[in-house]
């Protein structure tokens, strides 16, 4: 007998947690002497009130979908991949290499190549922590954190000493050639008389992210590998009994995770910046953790949570544009969302379970 209906678990609990986070965020806004109603208003119209706003919201959401999926896949194998940030940085390097050094005839082929390169680089960056966890038992949380730092130094070296065009003062690669520029929503959806998504960075990568959601869903819930990943995640001894190699699953799950994190680079590097700059990931790897937690590691949940965080980012940007609220407010709101949907989950769950149990007893 389940303690409570599935819909309550999947919908009600995250919703209540979100409301609690929202209430606290309101208090924070009040405490710094701003008007929460106005702030929310600005955020909503700014992020969702126009195709332009949506263009930004979806752009951020695309990043978070990739990193969220990355964390989620690892979660299914009970691995906590904090290294999404570093893996995404390396993914960016992969995209840059693919786009700069090969003259692609058309963006579509370039996109495929960039996808492959970014996934390869991201996966490679996850491979060492994965191997160490699987073979030597080195705690993956620590090694992936270390690899984030190492990735930053490595990228810095590459940009400052290797890939920076001669004479440029910017620690960034050259612009990618025109041929590999990805179609943006603006170019995809605008008509002659009606320009939509004008100037917004959302691009075709969004659909790659959607595809990734579907693929990850199929992988996790429909394939034998996904079955093994989930089985291992639920019980290591069980996996050993079933002949599922913990070493193999640990490494494969982390490679997939790293590849997904790396894939984010097609959005921010290839789709938006069209060159590789330092710190291109801007913490999206960490947001991925929150997104995966909120989405309960389910691709659809990740999709929704990514949109939520995209909204927070774009709404937050609008706040910064038109008010004097510091940008760190958004960090606080994120923290509250993670806290309530993740760590304090039981605070909502336990009373709810009691409630449902009571209701059922009453009905009997």
């Amino acid at each position: 007998m389940e303690k409570m209906p599935k819909w309550a678990d999947v919908v009600l609990i995250p919703l209540i947690s979100l409301i609690l986070a929202a209430i606290l965020s309101t208090l924070v806004i009040l405490a710094i002497g701003e008007n929460p109603v106005e702030a929310v208003n600005l955020m909503v119209t700014g992020a969702l009130g126009s195709t332009y706003g949506w263009g930004y919201t979806l752009y951020y959401a695309t990043n978070f979908m990739f990193t969220g999926l990355a964390v989620a896949v690892a979660f299914h194998a009970r691995l906590f991949n904090i290294g999404g940030e570093g893996q995404a940085m390396l993914g960016g390097l992969g995209v840059a290499v693919a786009c700069l050094y090969i003259p692609w005839p058309h963006w579509s082929i370039a996109l495929l190549a960039a996808c492959a390169a970014s996934m390869l680089f991201g996966a490679a960056w996850a491979a060492i922590p994965a191997y160490l966890q699987a073979k030597r038992g080195s705690h993956i949380v620590i090694t992936t954190i270390m690899f984030n730092f190492i990735a930053a130094a490595f990228l810095n070296y590459m940009l400052v000493n290797v890939m920076r065009p001669q004479g440029s003062q910017d620690p960034a690669t050259a612009r990618f050639p025109e041929a590999v520029h990805l179609p943006t929503f603006q170019s995809m959806f605008s008509t002659a008389e009606n320009a939509v998504f004008r100037g917004a960075p959302a691009n075709i990568s969004f659909f790659v992210a959607l595809l990734a959601c579907v693929v990850v869903w199929a992988l996790i819930w429909r394939t034998r590998l996904g079955y093994e990943i989930r089985a291992y995640g639920h019980s290591e001894t069980g996996a050993v009994y079933a002949g599922i190699s913990p070493v193999r699953i640990t490494i494969i799950a982390m490679l997939i995770s790293g590849a997904l994190a790396g894939l984010m680079a097609i959005n921010n590097v290839m789709g938006e910046a069209e060159r590789l700059v330092l710190n291109a990931t801007e913490g999206a790897g960490f947001i991925g953790i929150a997104v995966a937690l909120m989405g309960r590691s389910h691709p659809f949940g990740v999709f929704l949570a990514a949109i939520l965080f995209g909204f927070l980012y774009q709404g937050g940007a609008e706040l910064a544009l038109w008010t004097s609220i510091p940008r760190e407010l958004i960090v606080v709101i994120q923290a509250l969302v993670i806290l309530f949907t993740g760590a304090l989950d039981n605070m909502v769950r336990i009373p709810l379970e009691k409630l449902f149990l009571g209701l059922r007893k009453g009905a009997e």
């Binding site: 930004y56 752009y59 951020y60 730092f149 930053a152 130094a153 810095n156 070296y157 400052v160 920076r164 001669q166 004479g167 440029s168 003062q169 910017d170 620690p171 960034a172 612009r175 004008r198 100037g199 917004a200 960075p201 921010n268 938006e272 910046a273 060159r275 700059v277 330092l278 710190n279 291109a280 801007e282 980012y313 937050g316 940007a317 910064a320 544009l321 510091p326 940008r327 958004i330």
Partner: protein, 309 residues
Amino acid sequence: EPALIFDLGGKFDKSFNEAAHNGAQRWAEQTGQTYREIELQSEAQREQALRRFAEAGANPIITMGFAMADPLAAVAGDYPNTKFVAVDVNWLDAPNIRQVSFAEHEGSYLVGMMAAMASKSGTVGFIGGMDIPLIRHFGCGYAQGAKAVNPDVNIIANMTGTTPAAWNDPVKGSELTKAQISQGADVIYAAAGGTGVGVLQTAADEGILSIGVDSNQNHLHPGQVLTSMLKRVDVAVYDAMKAGEDVQTGVFTMGLAEEGVGVAMDENNAELVTEEMSAAVADARSDIINGNITVVSYYENDSCPALQF
């Protein structure tokens, strides 16, 4: 109404962005008018902020930092009636952009001279923030200046780090300072944003001289900051705001001649600067302006004649 876009470091970085903030504040106070501003938090916002301000009718729109060049190039054409001012950019080709760049190496050259003259040990230090070409550019000018005064001078140059955290790690700045002091440095030039706060603090604590950057930082530790390499971003911003929609576009280099860079002399460092120093600096300044001295820019071929990074 003008608008001001700060770079990722934030408007209170105690140097570059803060100078812009000061210039804008000065304009606002003097004219009683207001301006819009935003502190960027992500790369994608660069273009976003430009467009949003342009569409809201802000004019001119002033941007800070070389990283705005790319987005400016993409956006400026869409808003031909809006004037843009790009600080630290000089290579764009657009009719409605005023590009202002500074000859930081020239200013650094002068403070380098002062450092070498003030140094008793014959060793001077340079502490940069994140290891990027711009900071090497500062260090390179500094080294040339020091060498000009004392060809045997020993120059120790360190960078704080390789990630953006390097701009905000005063603890590391402090340790680097101590390390340089123990290697003999008795004058240290900090071009490291928030990290520089730690450098100046430790230099003061340890009783050696430091040199500030961008804004006039002499007042932070009166009597212990030898001087500051001024980069008059505040002036650039102030002037642009003052000119308003009629701001002149084109490429402007603000070097010593234009008073765009210079050394800070005020009551806080009056006792530290000898007459000999002032004279030498003044001579060098005019020599640079009239071309008798050429300070090599690090950008020219990504290397420095006086310093190995």
